[in-house]
Symmetry: C2
Subunit: 147 residues, 2 copies
């Protein structure tokens, strides 16, 4: 057969049936129904679920993932080109997130040297938190001066 029951999709994707039903309620996934009202997924849905998992790994909310998936064609199985398009957009997200984490790491590494951990600038240099006026939180990482 070329369709999958919810249990099969769950086993293949590593996502619990209850989560798949939840995704359906949330509009991230759609399933055809058998005469007896059971869900039947297409193999293409494996990709869809894979994409959802990947995006979650990157820290994206289901809400945003749904919006992204909404760009895929509804009336036909997505083609390579469709997935390519989506994937490359997400590649950018990934790149950005990696960049943030690298800045975080480098800043942390720099702070190991003086032990300050202020992340707004080393306390030894800037003992009065003067950078606090730029906003709250770890400014140097989320909003580096050079970006």
């Amino acid at each position: 057969m070329d369709t999958l029951s919810i249990g099969e999709l769950a086993a293949r994707s590593g996502v619990a049936p209850s989560a798949l039903r939840y995704y359906e309620r949330e509009g991230l996934l759609h399933a055809a129904r058998t005469g007896g009202n059971q869900r039947r997924y297409e193999r293409a849905d494996l990709r869809r679920v894979a994409f959802i998992k990947i995006a979650q790994q990157v820290g994206v909310s289901l809400e945003e993932i749904r919006e992204a998936l909404a760009e895929l064609p509804e009336n036909r199985t997505p083609t390579k080109a469709d997935w390519s398009h989506l994937s490359s957009r997400w590649r950018h997200r990934l790149d950005e997130r990696i960049a943030v984490m690298e800045r975080l790491r480098d800043q942390l590494t720099g702070c190991i040297g003086c032990g300050c951990l202020s992340l707004q600038r080393c306390k030894l240099i800037n003992p009065d938190d003067q950078l606090a006026v730029r906003g709250t939180g770890p400014q140097m990482i989320l909003n580096p001066p050079g970006a």
Copy 2:
């Protein structure tokens, strides 16, 4: 004065007072009290809060953060060496997480070429999901063969 009220710490750290109280209930933070029962924080607590924010950025739960912070000395203000030790441990975490995301990105990039997005190995090469037996989910990223 060299202590901070909860409002001051909140403003400096970018963390809401309610969150700071919550952290205290959860054992991540401790504050001295004035005669009138108001919290007074030491300047060293700015570092503590900064560390909490950083760790959260990395996707670590407060539970784990609390465990990490528990390694700091309780009876004295943490020294540079104390923070250095903690920081270098977290640098490893960051490195690992960055590595995972880079694998994710590279895999995604690879899949853009064929449009498959299977992440268990390109479907064109492995049309029957044979890798599914290795476990559920995106194995190649979370558990790369070479790791």
